[in-house]
């Protein structure tokens, strides 16, 4: 492993990955279940997400000289470990295809409804082809430049919304007890936070492994706070029902900005942030998928299999779902237990096995 990234670069990648597509899709999926208490669900889910991040990073830290596929083989035996490794590779590629689809639908529905989807898919495909050929160092250096731009877009939108918020929209607090909050927390755990398991492929690249737990969990919490403000502002401005039914709720919120009759149509700020973070999320998950397959088969260079995987990812982004409604239904009925299994249960099991193995030897 020749390529190295610094721990700050890892933090930037984690922030951009976690915000990713959740920036636009999280508020509706939370508010759908927990109504005006959605902001409590957002806090709760990022706190539980910190536990997930902690599990992942402590699993990787126990084996400082191994990559994730070698850890799987070491703990589960050669063939079963490789089978689970293939399952993980499929998950990463599947996630890349879904994120690609989200980005394509966003651009198509909001900006260019008459252009065929293939145009945007191919454009994103070229991006992932080029970035993953360049490697993780280049991805993280580009991310260092574009993450601040994305964060400025998000926070500027939040600040510009302040004149039109109505704080009484979030009352009554805890009107129906704790259960609606739990129901709203549950999809948020699966959608951005359990996906952090992708960083099992990225963490071994970090040059100083010392403070990595703090940095990883801290950056996840920072992204969680940003998402919390997005959810809060969406509820306070749009009210509950419009948030539930709109496809891109924060985008619709940003449309309402109008300051002194001349500063309006600022939804482009949040769209810019969304395209940036979705691009990074797509790149990271595709890169992790490619690397996972290369490591499972113990290839000498992961670059030789990038082109077929780009074609597979782009085809899957068309094939898996018919339209945006099916994407959202898949995310709300299937995605959460699926990503729980991969992102939380299996890493937890591996951590347990590693403790048992250590005691024996």
């Amino acid at each position: 492993m020749k390529e190295k990234i610094s721990s700050i670069q890892l933090a930037f990648l984690v922030i951009n990955f976690t915000i990713g597509s959740a920036l636009i899709f999280l508020p509706s999926s939370i508010v759908n279940h927990s109504k005006q208490d959605g902001w409590i669900s957002a806090i709760l889910s990022s706190l539980i997400g910190a536990v997930f991040a902690f599990i992942i990073v402590s699993l990787i830290k126990r084996f400082p000289n191994k990559n994730f596929m070698e850890i799987l083989e070491f703990l589960l035996g050669k063939w079963f470990g490789r089978l689970i490794g293939l399952f993980y590779s499929w998950f990463f590629i599947h996630l890349a295809a879904l994120v690609l689809r989200n980005g394509v639908e966003f651009v198509k529905i909001n900006f260019m409804p008459n252009t065929p989807m293939a145009v945007f898919s191919l454009a994103f495909g070229i991006i992932i082809l080029y970035t993953s050929l360049s490697g993780i160092e280049v991805i993280s250096r580009v991310n260092d430049i574009i993450l601040p731009i994305s964060l400025i877009g998000i926070w500027l939108t939040i600040i510009l919304m302040l004149p039109i918020i109505e704080p009484d929209k979030i009352s009554p607090i805890l009107a129906n007890g704790i259960k609606p909050i739990l129901r709203g927390t549950y999809p948020a755990l699966g959608f951005p936070f359990a996906e952090l398991v992708i960083f099992t492929m990225i963490i071994p690249f970090v040059n100083k492994q010392k403070n990595i737990t703090k940095i990883f969990v801290g950056s996840q919490l920072f992204a969680g706070i940003t998402l919390f403000f997005i959810v809060l502002i969406t509820i306070m401005v749009l009210n509950i029902y419009p948030t539930e039914i709109s496809l891109f709720a924060p985008f619709n919120v940003a449309r309402l900005i109008s300051i002194g009759d001349f500063l309006s149509r600022l939804e482009i700020l949040i769209s810019m942030s969304f395209i940036i973070s979705i691009g990074t999320k797509l790149t990271i998950s595709f890169y992790a998928g490619t690397l996972a397959i290369a490591q499972v088969f113990q290839l000498m260079d992961y670059r030789s299999i990038i082109i077929p995987l780009v074609i597979i990812t782009v085809s899957f982004s068309f094939l898996l779902e018919e339209d945006i409604a099916e994407v959202i239904s898949f995310a709300s009925t299937t995605w959460t237990p699926y990503s729980f299994l991969i992102g939380v249960l299996i890493p937890l099991l591996l951590l347990g096995i590693s403790f048992i193995k250590n005691d024996k030897s």
């Binding site: 599947h94 259960k179 739990l182 129901r183 549950y186 397959i293 290369a294 088969f297 113990q298 290839l299 000498m300 260079d301 030789s304 299999i305 082109i307 077929p308 995987l309 074609i311 597979i312 782009v314 085809s315 899957f316 068309f318 094939l319 898996l320 779902e321 898949f330 009925t333 299937t334 959460t336 237990p337 699926y338």
Partner: protein, 76 residues
């Protein structure tokens, strides 16, 4: 038209890549590349020609959506 261009793209890329990998004598890389390229051409060209392609989403839905319903019942 689309089918022909995608097919040509796949052929050209495969030709260049196989030549390179054989020169470098990376046997394992070559086999994995060929396998993945076969899947890729099946998915992309099959989609353009409307050939039946099994959708993994259906299987995932069948396994995981009962668990999802059960978890929601726990929380209501």
């Amino acid at each position: 038209m689309a089918v022909i261009s995608v097919g040509l793209l796949i052929l050209v890329v495969s030709y260049l890549q196989i030549k390179k990998l054989r020169q470098q004598k990376k046997k394992k890389d070559l086999y994995v590349f060929l396998g993945l390229m076969a899947i890729a051409s099946y998915l992309s060209i099959g989609q353009l020609l409307n050939i039946y392609i099994p959708n993994p989403t259906n299987g995932l839905r069948m396994i995981f959506s009962p668990i999802n319903t059960w978890l929601y019942q726990l929380m209501s």
